[in-house]
Each structure stands twice: as C-alpha cells, then as structure tokens.
Symmetry: C2
Subunit: 220 residues, 2 copies
DNA sequence: AAGGCTTCTGCCACTCAGTGGCACTATTGC
DNA sequence: GCAATAGTGCCACTGAGTGGCAGAAGCCTT
C-alpha cells in the first residue's frame, strides 16, 4: 500500500485509482524508505552504501536519484511527509478571527500529525530520528528541510492572513518558535516509552505551553 | 587559537606570542577562508572544486582537510567563530541574580559579537551568508553547527546556573528562540545597507524584543 | 489487439568530495 | 646542532551524485 506515510494528502481510496505506473513508483519509494531505515539502523548510515541499498531493493542507483535527492533524503522522508501535510493544513484551515497566529500554526501541525497513518509512521519517524541523532549529515539535512518549510509557511501566512508590514518578522519568529517546540517534543518523544502519534501531540502541546515561561525564566 | 576572526578569544598581541608553527597554520587557515569566499562568490560554491581552491592557496587537499572538516566548513568559518565566542562568554559571564536567562543569553551573544574583529569580519560573514542563501548544502551545514552549539550552550547553562529539573526544556527553548532571533537579524542585516557589527547588534536586539509579541500576534 | 507514443528504468562512464598511508620537510626542545 | 615531533605533499582509493543513451513498460489510439 503505497501511499500511507509517503504522500501526505492521500488515503487508500485515492491510491487504488492511481494509474499503474504511479502505483509502482510509490511502491518502490516505500520499499526504499523501509529498507533504508532497516539497513541504516542495523549497520549505521555510513555502513550502508547506496549500491548496497539499491541491490537490496533491486533498483538501479539512477532510479534511486530520480526518487530521492540524496542518501540523507530517503531516511528523512517520514518527517518530511509531516511538514508537507502541515503546509497543506495551513493552506486550508479556517481560524477563528482574533485567534493567535501561534495557536493557528500549532493547530495546523497537530492536524497534520492526525493525518499521518496510524500504523507504521510513528515507528519510521523514531528510527529516522534515532539515526539522525548519530549521523550529522542526516541531522543537517533535516534542519535544512525545516528551514525551507518555514519559509514556505511564512509565504502562506503572508498570503492568507494579510500581515501588516512590520509583522513579517513576528510571524516568522512565531514559525521558528513552533519548529523549535516541535524539535524538543520529538527529542523527548523518541527517548520516551511507546512513541505514538498521540504522545507526540501531547509533547508538542507541552513544549508550546512552556514557551512563554522560557522567556521569563530567571537564573540562579 | 588564532587570528582575527578565526579564533574568537584572542587579539593580535596573543598572536605574536604564538610559536611559529601555530602562526603558519593560522595563516593558511585565513588564506583558505578568504580565498574560498572570494572564489565561491565569483564562480559559485559548486563552480569551484577543492583542487582549484587548494591550487590557489598553494596547499595540498590533504592539508585542507586537516584544517576544515568539509568544503562547506571553510565558507562558514566566520559565523562559527562568533558562536564559539558566544560559548566562551556564556562560560565566564556573571549575570545579576534574578536576571532573565533569555537576557543573559542575548547579552552573551552581544558580547561575543563585540569581540569579533572590527575589520573584515562583518564583510566575511556577509559573503558567507549570501553564499549560503543560494547553496543548500552550506545552509544545512550552518544550521547543524548552530544546533550543536545550542546543545553545548544548554550544557553550560545547566552546569553554571543549576536548573531545577523541569526547567531543562524551558532553558533549551530559550536558546532556540535566541538562535531564531539571531537568524532573522542576520537575514535582514545581509540585505540591508552597510552591514557592520553595530547594525547586527541592533538587529539582534530588535528581533529579541519582537519575540513576545510574536506569540500574541492575532490573525486577520 | 496492435501499433506507435511517452515515460520510466537500467547501465555505463565520469566528476569530485573526502580518507588512509607513507615518505618528506620543517619546528621545537634539548 | 640533533633527535623527537609535529605538519605537509603526494598518490591511490572509496563512494555519492550526474549525464547520456538504449531498451522496456505503461498508455492511448483506432
């Protein structure tokens, strides 16, 4: 079943209606992600060459690079799916007027989280994050992706919620803070017991709630 | 330890006292950074091979990799010097009791900024950042470095300012927020006219001040 | 249902970043 | 000066990522 967790805005129904060619492509994509996470976890990111991965999935290296932009990319796919869903949620959400932008952003992220497949996704993210923890190049890749997503999010916010000029900076900071809170939540989540979507959502809420106090926290 | 803009906690006095070997090393390092920024700016990051850079500086590739960890690294050196100085400042600063952690962090960063060489440093950072803006791999490298520095900063904060257990998250968030504010400040700074240390400091103050409002900013 | 048309895939050769090893030269402390 | 101890240059090698082209597989007519 291809799409789950790989193409964010799509459920199994849509999937079956896809032309055969697309379904195949999705299947290879999923196979690459799953096998990559498995092999990397087993032997380490550096310990697995692309040739080895491609052999295991029975795909040529050329095809790999038509599906993913880099070796890091394949291992970060699960998280990236979430951020893409976040952008889509941000695009369609209808916040109550007067609501705080920060809350709107947080809710969009929570909604995106709710759209991730209940089965398997969380596990893939955990493997991916643990790997990133001990693989600098993976971590860097993930951070860069977040940064690009933040820019995209700012563009959506600017277009949909018509910011007064001086608030551009504040909006961008709100996004940065959300991203930071999310990272902290994930960090705690992958260490903790039984990582599920629900626990991650709870952690995100907690981290977001801690932000105001983080600014007024006194030393000594 | 080093020379202007290359090793944070040292001025020209100290430099002359260094053994010859060290001074040579520093000189190569500086030559590599300057030439790299020049060539990259001229022909683009991808447009310059390491062999070309090493030829220009008359250094072997082997030596390059003894000085820098990667091609990206050499181009990000100026910013990294600042963050290293920040860690040192954080280590030695003596905040007034009751002061806000966030303010302590911001002041440490401002102090580090003040320690950067008045001549040349700002210009190097501007070149470096502009390059990073159109070179994903450089940007990723920079973000990863910030992340590592944030972790290190948290360790210092934990040790020096003995946090109660539950405030670990809040402290880390405070650091993340500072980093975000700094990034926004730099972003605006490299676009603006006549980038000097002073203007960057002003921009950082502005961005830090905008954080509380960014959390309460309402949509529509 | 068979033809051509399009799109994707496999393969091969290539560039370039980054590493390991060894011989060589230069600095330093005696 | 003279060992000991760096740091350096050179060379060969691995592995990521790319370009090009020939062939296969899905697709779209009639």
């Amino acid at each position: 079943m291809a799409a789950e967790g790989y193409t964010s805005g799509m459920d199994a129904m849509d999937l079956d209606r896809l032309p055969l060619r697309e379904r195949k492509k999705l299947r290879t994509r999923q196979a690459l992600v799953d096998t990559a996470l498995e092999l990397f976890t087993e032997r380490g990111f550096e310990g697995v060459t692309l040739d080895a991965l491609c052999d295991a999935v029975e795909v040529s290296k050329r095809t790999f690079f038509r599906t993913f932009t880099s070796k890091e990319d394949v291992a970060m796919a699960p998280t990236q799916d979430l951020w893409e869903a976040f952008l889509e949620e941000l695009e369609v959400c209808e916040p109550a007027p007067g609501q705080t932008l920060f809350d709107v952003l947080r809710d969009a992220l929570l909604a995106a989280l709710g759209r991730m497949p209940a089965e398997g996704w969380a596990h893939r993210v955990v493997l991916s994050r643990r790997l990133a923890g001990r693989t600098p190049s993976m971590d860097a890749h993930g951070l860069a992706f977040c940064d690009r997503t933040s820019r995209a999010a700012l563009a959506v916010v600017r277009r949909r919620f018509a910011l007064p000029g001086g608030d551009e900076l504040r909006a961008r900071l709100a996004i940065d803070v959300l991203v930071a809170a999310f990272h902290r939540a994930v960090e705690a989540w992958v260490e903790g017991p039984a990582p599920t979507r629900g626990r991650l959502a709870a952690g995100l809420g907690l981290a977001c709630g801690a932000v105001p106090e983080s600014l007024t926290l006194a030393v000594r």
